[in-house]
Subunit: 391 residues, 3 copies
Amino acid sequence: MADQNTLNNLLATVREGAPGLFGKDFLLTWDHGTSTLKSVLAAAEVLEHAYQNGKDARYFDGGLAISIFRDKSTRTRFAYASAATLLGMSLQELDETKSQIAHGETVRETANMIAFCARAIGIRDDMFIHEGHRYMVEVAQALDEGKKEGVLPYRPTMVNLQCDMDHPTQAMADLLHLSKTYGGLDKLRGKRIAMTWAYSPSYGKPLSVPQGIITLMTRFGMDVALAHPEGYDLLPETIDIAKRHAKEAGGNFTVGHSMTDAFKDADIVYPKSWAPFKIMEERTRLLRGGDAKKLDALEKDCLANNAKFKSWECTDELMKHTKNGKALYMHCLPADITDVSCKEGEVSANVFERYRLDTYREAAHKPYIIAAMVLLSAAKDPSAFLANAIK
Amino acid sequence: MADQNTLNNLLATVREGAPGLFGKDFLLTWDHGTSTLKSVLAAAEVLEHAYQNGKDARYFDGGLAISIFRDKSTRTRFAYASAATLLGMSLQELDETKSQIAHGETVRETANMIAFCARAIGIRDDMFIHEGHRYMVEVAQALDEGKKEGVLPYRPTMVNLQCDMDHPTQAMADLLHLSKTYGGLDKLRGKRIAMTWAYSPSYGKPLSVPQGIITLMTRFGMDVALAHPEGYDLLPETIDIAKRHAKEAGGNFTVGHSMTDAFKDADIVYPKSWAPFKIMEERTRLLRGGDAKKLDALEKDCLANNAKFKSWECTDELMKHTKNGKALYMHCLPADITDVSCKEGEVSANVFERYRLDTYREAAHKPYIIAAMVLLSAAKDPSAFLANAIK
Amino acid sequence: MADQNTLNNLLATVREGAPGLFGKDFLLTWDHGTSTLKSVLAAAEVLEHAYQNGKDARYFDGGLAISIFRDKSTRTRFAYASAATLLGMSLQELDETKSQIAHGETVRETANMIAFCARAIGIRDDMFIHEGHRYMVEVAQALDEGKKEGVLPYRPTMVNLQCDMDHPTQAMADLLHLSKTYGGLDKLRGKRIAMTWAYSPSYGKPLSVPQGIITLMTRFGMDVALAHPEGYDLLPETIDIAKRHAKEAGGNFTVGHSMTDAFKDADIVYPKSWAPFKIMEERTRLLRGGDAKKLDALEKDCLANNAKFKSWECTDELMKHTKNGKALYMHCLPADITDVSCKEGEVSANVFERYRLDTYREAAHKPYIIAAMVLLSAAKDPSAFLANAIK
């Protein structure tokens, strides 16, 4: 439970950075200034405090929080629902299979049709490379037009619940987890985080988590070591951003092809499977073309290639290379745990079990991160609202 | 934003007509007197004002707003969800695929089982001619019995979200759009509206929109010109009602078979595809019988017949025949737009784009229309409630 | 409508028994003391009174009420949604088909991931014998750990919405129905209730209703006569509990194989189909093994065996054997009604129609029973809260 002094500092941080998000969407962390990101983290902490202490933080008197999930989801779905109820909105999911969208409706039109009484729209669209973010931008532009032209009374806040480029609610929850673990964002400077690929028996996992981590953590002066087998590249654009951020923040960003090297002296490790972006591009093309035979062949090739890298598993042995052998293990969940959820996976049962509750705590921040993003976008003076809510 | 004088006039209109809806359902516009319809429109305007100005208009402290969608829906689904949150109800959808209804449960029983804590029930059942409205009446009677016999503490308000006969939330939103466009309901007297069939590459679209328009607009003294190719008749009952309404209101109602004639000097055009009701009857029979072969044949015949009328497209050329070449184009959306959502459709891209934002504004009224229907049915003195809400 | 004296007595009953449920789950009625059960019934009555009189009984300022339905459901689904809105929570269903659960996620993990902002979790898992209750216990333990380890700010209350052993929200609603019918729980002492098997054209219906009835009604000194054809045994454990409860409460519990004998002089009859638990065990094994052929054979055998007992139908003829020929007929609904929902079923149309509205009233208690379970688990002083709510 936070004391009053801590709360006052958090409210001051909200006050400082919140104007940067007022009236804006949260699609990519690199769309926003660092002080805005800090204000989101601070607001999330205050909202978490409010909920834990039974304080009513419903900013809205109703209104819809809309979600569009173009991929399966449990934890983000529930995190979004939680954020909605925290702020007093009613959740309404756009289930594209139950809608008339196939029947000639444009994105521009749908965006307006669902949004007459919406205050937030959260979208997950992470299946197709080069498309998820583009879709969100298309929705955002439609909402802008709708507001400008008097169709929509309010411009609902858009929140990216995972796209092909970034997974900002995850990366920001991860950052809050680190900040709370180490006692503040300033304590992260110089800390080494190994964001590495890891083996999984599945293929085609999104790239947005590693991309989100390398672009965000570099901003806070961390020493970010990305490592993956040859060919498992991320989107080049995000590599460039990570490099720039590292330079600007006086941190470090390296790309290597050895898990062991990345783990060396790491304070934090984040081993996670993903698909090579070139494969994702090919897959997107084949899916669009509906070529089932070639898709099968692609999957087979990929899995065969993946199988060459089964040694990319986060084991006790590997963990010994980290700082004092005690690096913090992170994962966005669900992890592919060897002998638990699969035969050979991203992490050994031993390592995972040791950090299991930490990964739960990491995930626990997401509802408040989402709520903070919406609140700071909707409220002119969110720190005053929060100060009043926790009184 | 409405000024106080306008708001007072709206509240007075609510006061006058609201008693006619108290304790009643909204299944067909012709079930209700004209002053009741006016009070629904006025209440919708006040609710819209309230929402736009951040006023809390939650009449209910919880309770369920139930929806039953027996056909796909985006905009009505979201409009209903919006109405629920505006009035403070929690939405709960009856998904018949997840229920035990197949397993021996009667309509009468289900209606009661879901309604113990319900304040509103909205139903879309527009697929089968002669059945949608009948089903709603069956539900309504079950609820009447449940209330009378002490099973239900409240009799939830039923709202027709589209049946085989009428689409009252659409038609009323359309009417509000016209009233706001022309500066009041009294300004509609004598205005010519062309409700015409239009070509679409699909078949089997419901008849409820044109039926809703001809029966409603005639009540306000409009000159309603219905036009469709030979054989694309509407339900005879609705034609009779439109005739009677036109006569009573001193308006005009004609049925013709030329789109050009209907457009001649029209102030408003509403070109939209629908299926001939005789075909819908046949289709209902075949669907009930499960005769897939005959259904395929019927669809093929229909589409072949439709294809003869591809010239029924709302083009710039055709629009020139309207009043000063500038009639207001209306559509319930989604429209089949030539070269946008299909190769050949109901409306040219040019015409649609010119009126696109108007059609969005037209749709924007629906949440408030639905909320007004529920409020006037549930509240003894809705104008007092509204006056207080917007203070 | 209850008078103030009645309400005061109810509040006193809540006060007395509520501490037994504070911080606990409601998974099986026999987990709880009799005074706790009485306090749940009393709180349900007060909540029913509050809702009927337009009193706001929202204990929570938001927060999620999560449901997990592993079997189809209408009435329990809506009862749970109703309870959520009564108490001020937002409903969020975990649809396992839309989640990533298949993809390597453990029950322990999912339970925490969905529960960060949850105040209640209701689960139906009644398909597999020996598994439903076990699953709920697994979820409960995960939530305990989550709360203890600082992952969850609140420990959400778990409510069993039907498992393989008990259907406590049904049995408690049934008990409230009896209490209100006869003027109090103490009036049930010595009353004879015939809980009997009945023929249905389907097979594989859960055993939880008869098990819930025999274990609960025996606690209140009733004369419980269980009857079923040879081989249609219930879980032995529940038979033992019923025997023990009857002994402790000075009531009676018999098991027989004649519907007529059970009906003899009965005050109440509850004829309902279920599957023999040995068959359910076999079915569970085969389903787990995915042996479709053997499953088909099992179903055929079962249905053939069922067909020998078509005479187990609740008819007017049979009702004549009951006390003055006027026993109260009960059913959890939907019933298989001869000539209504099937050719030959559990009950004749005549008998069912005579008691139809009674069965509706029986079902009407369920939302309040569920709400009472959650309230008494979450609130330190629920009687004070309720007293204030109905002021």
